[in-house]
């Protein structure tokens, strides 16, 4: 702030080009915000008001009844226990999946950047390109494998699958990060006699909180939002929140309660949204990591 700019002061007059830029951005912002607004207002209305009014009008009489119903008693075909079941299932899937996949991938990325051995890069390259293969191609063999291992249709099964499919992006993330750390650090530790695990836990991990944060954001949003693996590998008892939400909203019986549906939708989106709004620039770094080539 103390440095004085050189040259003529920019004119602070009406500039049609800039006005147009702001106008376009504002219109786009409205399009992006509209669904969130509709979700919130619909979830706060009673059903008569939903039927009579229009979807954009704010609630005349605010009610939290739909939220309570969505969480506690909404029906998914057979059971009427609400979304809370799915929420706790998702948590049980999420926490071990995130911890295990990051633990494996960080050690892996570290091995790839400091302890290269013949063939390592080849496996890594195949892994990265393999991550573009549609999941559908690998589904049936994975069903057979998990069935043989006795974990098909269980929490362990779906955690196993999330760990596998998180590996390409996470390994890439950690490998690129560790590769950016100075080699001298590693060499100095080697000279001092530190081994593979010693260097990892005493030097690498303490230097890498940011990349662990990025990895956690990436995995939490990715795993929470998953539908396909949950519906196939978790088993009916352990359906994650996304699957339950879809069952509640798209179940054919009964009168459609749009307010309850929207409350349920917000509840399911709440975890990744909270992560998103709290993490700010880390989220952008996390998703941009997918675009960084190896």
């Amino acid at each position: 702030m103390s440095i004085e700019p050189i040259g003529t002061r920019p004119r602070r007059t009406f500039d049609p080009t800039r006005m147009m830029i702001y106008l376009v951005l504002a219109v786009a912002a409205i399009y992006y915000l509209l669904p969130l607004y509709v979700m919130i207002v619909t979830s706060l209305k009673g059903m008569p008001e939903v039927r009579l009014g229009n979807i954009f009008s704010p609630p005349v009489e605010i009610t939290f009844e739909p939220w309570a119903k969505a969480w506690d008693t909404a029906c998914t075909g057979l059971y009427c226990e609400g979304l809370k079941v799915g929420f706790w299932n998702s948590m049980q899937i999420l926490i071990p999946s995130v911890v295990i996949s990051i633990a494996i991938a960080s050690v892996n990325g570290y091995a790839l950047s400091f302890w290269r051995f013949r063939g390592a890069e080849v496996f890594f390259t195949i892994l990265i390109f393999g991550s573009f293969i549609p999941y559908q191609v690998m589904l049936y063999p994975l069903v057979i494998i998990t069935r043989e291992l006795g974990i098909f249709g269980s929490l362990t099964g779906v955690i196993f699958i999330h760990t596998i499919f998180g590996m390409p992006i996470l390994t890439l993330l950690f490998r690129n990060y560790f590769a950016s750390l100075p080699q001298e650090l590693f060499k100095a530790a080697r000279v001092d006699g530190a081994g593979f695990w010693g260097i990892f836990f005493k030097i690498m991990v303490p230097m890498s909180p940011p990349i662990f944060v990025v990895a956690i954001i990436l995995q939490v949003t990715g795993i929470w939002n998953d539908f396909l693996f949950g519906v196939i590998f978790a088993g009916t008892k352990n359906f994650p929140m996304t699957v339950q939400l879809n069952n509640i909203v798209n179940s054919s019986q009964g009168v459609k309660e749009y307010n309850v549906n929207m409350a349920a939708t917000i509840l399911t989106g709440a975890v990744p949204l909270a992560i998103y709004f709290l993490s700010g620039k880390y989220f952008v770094r996390g998703i941009a990591a997918g675009a960084v080539k190896g």
């Binding site: 376009v24 951005l25 912002a29 992006y32 669904p35 979700m39 619909t42 039927r51 229009n54 954009f56 009008s57 494996i104 050690v107 892996n108 570290y110 091995a111 400091f114 302890w115 051995f117 890069e121 496996f123 890594f124 390259t125 195949i126 892994l127 393999g130 573009f132 293969i133 549609p134 559908q136 191609v137 690998m138 589904l139 049936y140 063999p141 494998i145 596998i164 390994t171 081994g195 593979f196 929470w224 939002n225 396909l228 196939i232 996304t242 879809n246 909203v249 798209n250 939708t265 399911t268 990744p272 949204l273 992560i275 998103y276 709004f277 700010g280 989220f283 998703i287 675009a291 080539k293």
Partner: protein, 297 residues
């Protein structure tokens, strides 16, 4: 004596090899092994369970004679082309506007990107509600007095795919914008100075200088979105369940339904092999472009 002192090469970096075991197993068993298995058994006569009776291209023959499959392929082609063009163009324009040293940049970015944090299920259900012909947007506009206003894309066979498109674009364009913005920030300031001195208009600099410079970003973004489009599944399940009729079916849903609901594994495997081939057609030129010159050793 000397050769005895040398450690066995297989045990060199043993810890690193142990650490890389999960990656190696995943690569070999899942990404290579499972894919090869699927391609192989797509040539078998498998029905409810995979069988070792190989019948050549019979499954593919049946696949491409199934109206549901050809409809699925047509749908994903329409969805793919529109969503690629639209998200790249709009994503780039938004990014270019965001790059004009505007105020509230962070606010705008937060708004454009938040849908990307939401799942396709959430996205699909919200738009299903907004596009609901009896209670949604259409009714809201009619209530304002425009009685003949019609916006019921989701209810008609010919237009339901555009309803999916609206939702898909809403969810994904912010991501493209973020990648493009990162690309624009990587463009050398001197380019802008030079073009200003030469008196070249800004839009011309974008089209003839900056976009060609960002070729890498464009290609990478294209590959990421395109391989995402091929696996489009959750959005359809949440928003339309493939309906009305089979009007919004997509290949990934064909695979799932035939594999788990209809018990016709052979068809599902043939369909997923077609999906794999499509992705390889997208991927191989990219690998060639990006890595062809400097092959990994």
């Amino acid at each position: 004596m000397a050769h005895q002192a040398r450690p066995n090469p297989y045990f060199r970096n043993l810890n690193a090899k142990v650490a890389a075991t999960p990656m190696i197993l995943t690569t070999l068993i899942v990404f290579v092994g499972c894919s090869v298995w699927t391609v192989l058994y797509s040539f078998s006569a498998s029905r409810a369970l995979p069988v070792n009776e190989f019948v050549g291209f019979a499954q593919y023959d049946r696949l491409f004679n199934t109206s549901r499959w050809t409809k699925s392929v047509g749908n994903i082609a329409v969805y793919g082309i529109f969503s690629l063009v639209f998200s790249l163009v709009v994503g780039f324009i938004l990014a270019a506007f965001m790059d004009q040293k505007i105020r509230f940049e962070n606010t705008f970015r937060t708004i454009f990107l938040y849908p990307f944090a939401l799942s396709f299920i959430v996205t699909g259900l919200v738009w299903q509600w907004i596009l609901n012909p009896t209670l949604g947007l259409q009714k809201a506009v009619r209530d304002l007095g425009w009685e003949s206003f019609t916006f019921d894309l989701i209810a008609h066979r010919d237009t339901v795919i555009y309803a999916l498109l609206i939702a898909g674009i809403w969810q994904g364009t912010g991501f493209v914008m973020a990648l493009m913005l990162a690309g624009l920030r990587g463009v050398d300031e001197d380019i802008w100075k030079a073009s200003r001195i030469d008196g070249i208009p800004k839009w011309k600099t974008y089209i003839f200088v900056v976009i060609p410079m960002m070729r890498g970003v464009f290609v990478t973004t294209l590959v990421i979105i395109a391989s995402g489009i091929v696996r489009l599944y959750d959005l359809v399940v949440a928003m339309t369940s493939g309906g009305p009729g089979i009007a919004s079916e997509v290949p990934a849903k064909y695979v799932y339904d035939f594999m788990f609901a209809r018990g016709n594994v052979g068809q599902a495997l043939a369909a997923s092999t077609v999906m794999l081939t499509t992705v390889l057609i997208i991927l191989i030129p990219w690998i060639y472009l990006e890595y062809g010159s400097k092959k990994p050793k």
